[in-house]
């Protein structure tokens, strides 16, 4: 057994440790651990529920809006209130801008330097040793596009701020709508930036992704994993409530099935939490950190659906919606993400046209003292759920289950690997001291460990998605 460690894994969000066992130039086993614990859910207890949309965004600086949206959906169910049509459009528009931003940044600022050599200065040097296959001219062109992408992704956040006030940590999303008004000049500002980004995605981002795939075709066969895909759905349509991206699950590359959230379970066999008194049933039991637990190697728990590990993200959404079904691999994830960016640009342009200028975007309301709600939405990287219980006007219980927890979970009690651990098996390794190939597999998932390690309880959810 030749155990190799990558720590810290760079160009991802927050710390992550990867141990791989390399034999005969192949990864034969893998362990992925998160090394930061903050414990956000326990902080939520006793606070004003209306603050949750603002406070839970602090979990993650790259997908803050997703948390605001999930919390808002949960509170809408708990309070039985709904934003006006304009408000629902604006929430979708704000979220769309954040997803576009995330996808651009993931490809050009994080994943790209697995394949492209930057200039000879920090932070682009030192770089990993490995097969940089792009001819110098193409390589240079990619770096030129990286520079454009730095500006374009900031423009996407600017577009978000038109209705979201500021970002990261947007401030205008409330339970019953958005505090910013949909004035003609704001709509125009959003629309102008969106046009600019749409064109850039069509003309630069998509061709770039395809060029990359031409030089690295073998990555269509690397990093497959279990073939289990999950999505909670994304962007509810204001009138019907149906999601633009439908929810569903696919097991073992089979047919799409309806998601039954009650089948979600969670295990802590290899996570740094005490097993004594651990109650796998939701809404009960406490999770107590135990950094000295033998065999444990991560702060992330292991969510399982019917006892199986599942992958979420743009590729899962593509498969479940039928818009991308070429395969499951490193390159498929990258291509599916780019296609999704294009699709979201188109959707957002459609929502803009449905806005009623100066129409109400927010409904004043008095919050009731009790309520229970679940807010399930896909975030950039996969399924995100918030579950809230309100008693006496205060949060009694708050639970969060994030995408990276699904993707990067450790082994479960049966010893089954987490989805990414499984995807790493069989990855060819040219130089066991560089492990550039392992980095490529991991980054194709767009990991974000800031979110992953907050989970305290497995939530229970009945009938929300049927």
């Amino acid at each position: 057994m030749t155990l190799k460690t990558i720590f810290p894994m760079t160009r991802i969000h927050e710390p992550m440790k990867v141990d791989v066992d390399v034999q005969n130039g192949q990864v034969v086993d893998a362990w992925i651990g998160a090394t930061l614990f903050r414990g956000f859910e326990s902080m939520m207890v006793g606070r004003d529920p209306r603050d949750a949309a603002l406070f839970t965004q602090r979990i993650c600086g790259i997908c803050s809006t997703a948390h605001a949206v999930a919390d808002t959906l949960a509170l809408q169910e708990a309070y039985q209130v709904e934003p006006p049509l304009n408000g629902r459009h604006l929430i979708n528009l704000i979220f769309a801008a954040d997803v576009i931003q995330n996808h651009l940044r993931h490809f050009y600022m994080l994943a790209l330097f697995d394949y492209v050599k930057g200039p000879n200065m920090p932070p682009f040097t030192p770089r990993m040793q490995g097969d940089y296959r792009l001819p110098p001219k193409v390589n240079e062109q990619f770096f030129e596009h990286y520079k454009q992408a730095v500006v374009k992704s900031a423009r996407a956040h600017e577009m978000l701020a038109v209705f979201g006030a500021k970002v990261p940590m947007t401030q205008t999303i409330t339970t019953t709508g958005v505090t910013e008004r949909a004035t003609a000049e704001r709509i125009q500002a959003y629309s102008a930036i969106l046009r600019e980004l749409s064109e850039w995605v069509d003309q630069i981002y998509l061709p770039d992704v395809l060029t990359l795939a031409e030089y690295y075709p073998d990555y269509y066969r690397i990093g497959a994993g279990y073939g289990n895909l999950i999505s909670y759905g994304m962007f509810p349509q204001p009138v019907t409530g149906a999601r633009e991206f439908a929810p569903g699950i696919i097991t073992n590359g089979g047919a799409v099935q309806a998601l039954d959230a009650s089948k979600i379970g969670e295990e802590i066999r290899y996570s740094w939490y005490q097993e004594k008194d651990y109650n796998p049933s939701p809404r009960q039991g406490k999770t107590v950190p135990d950094r000295d637990k033998p065999d444990a190697y991560s702060w992330v728990k292991a969510p399982r659906y019917e006892g199986k590990g599942f992958e979420g993200g743009p590729l899962a959404r593509g498969w479940i919606n039928g818009s991308y079904r070429r395969g499951i691999s490193v390159m498929d994830r990258i291509v599916a993400r780019a296609l999704e960016t294009q699709k979201i640009c188109r959707l957002a342009a459609g929502w803009l046209e449905m806005l009623i200028p100066n129409g109400p975007t927010l409904e004043p309301f008095t919050p009731p003292h009790t309520g229970d709600g679940a807010g399930l939405t896909d975030a950039m990287r996969g399924p995100l759920g918030h579950w809230v219980s309100i008693r006496s006007g205060k949060i009694q219980h708050y639970q969060i289950l994030t995408p990276t927890t699904w993707n990067f979970s450790p082994r479960d009690a049966q010893g089954l690997r987490g989805p990414v651990e499984e995807a790493l098996i069989g990855t060819p390794v040219a130089n066991p001291d560089s492990l550039i190939e392992v980095g490529r597999v991991i980054r194709s998932y767009d990991p974000c460990f800031t979110c992953a390690v907050h989970l305290l309880h497995v939530p229970e959810c009945k009938g929300y998605l049927d």
Partner: protein, 412 residues
Amino acid sequence: MISRRDFIKLCMSTAVSMSLTERLLPLVGQAYGEKRAVKPPVIWLELGSCTGNSVSLENAVNPSLDQMLTDMIDLRYHWLFSAEQGDGAVRAMLETVEQESGNFWLVIEGAVMTADHGRYNEIFRRDGQMITGLAAVQEFAPKAKYVIAVGDCACFGGPSAAHPNPAGATGVWKVIQSKVINIPGCPAHPDWMSGTFAHLSLYGLPELDGYNRPVMFFGKTIHELCQRRQQYEDGIFAKFPGDQGCLYKVGCKGPVTHADCPLRQWNHYVNWPVKAGAPCIGCASPHFPDGMMPFYQHLPEIRTPAVAANVQKFGAALAALGIGAVATHWAAGIFARRIHKHYVKGTKPIEPTAPENLTQVKQELDDLIRRQNALLAEAERLPGIQKARSKKKLLARVNDFLRAEDKSGDEG
């Protein structure tokens, strides 16, 4: 090269969006060219954080991130941007610490996790040993030329340290001896970071307040600079978030938060919360978030033996006391930690902390005296008030304010 004074004016100016790239970058570039300043090696450590400040840095427009990396700083280690991974990246960082000792800047994002000897947060591996964020900060800080904390978590613990603070999160300045430059905000505005970096390159340490925040960005309250300030003075108050009027009654923490958001605005200077109808939540405050929650509940009501004014009768209180007095009340509230105490009640069953150090107490007192003097000057100019009471009486009234027990604190 422009003088330091002009530079600060530039940073504080309302035309900041136009001028920073055009003026600041050439300045820094010129200085590097003339060897009056060297592109500093920077190590950026991320501890108990959400990466929000790095993402905010990516949102920088004047100068942009790309310009900053090329022209302003030599970013030797940052785990979001470093091309190398694992041991190779760590080696580059450790070499910088060794070779550039006394020369490199240490930027820290995220709170220091202290629970279980810092083992809730491990950030790299050296000779097979896992190194905690706490240990790394304590080891590197004495060798760094400047230690800069970006974001509320690194400065004061921030959201990572919210009650019950399961990971024992705290600000960087609590765990090291070196001076820490605090750039708070959740996240910090990219201009606050790039402006401070430029000042450090060109002129050295900027003027700092009692909380070690650069005065050029955090010298005034949001309330002082707010576009809706006139509506506050006219007594026009929003009834719910998103409504027209001053957002004070729906929870705005602008009066007790020091930052220049209203002038600067966010994300290419396009918007900021109060402009978008959302109350300020005080994310640049040392007491964020516990001291600022509930976000949608207004600041403590003003009740003193002299004037029983609550938020409904706010206009009356303003007329009777003058705006200065209300501001003084808030300032006194911050000083006595009354406001803080009021807000943590119910969520945080512990006593609020005392002021951090003597300098801070002195600065807050100075601030109080300045406001008090301003109030007296203002009172003299108001004919109505002058007729009604003598200066001496007014002074007594102000003193009442300062000494008054905050009755609203008992409500919660």
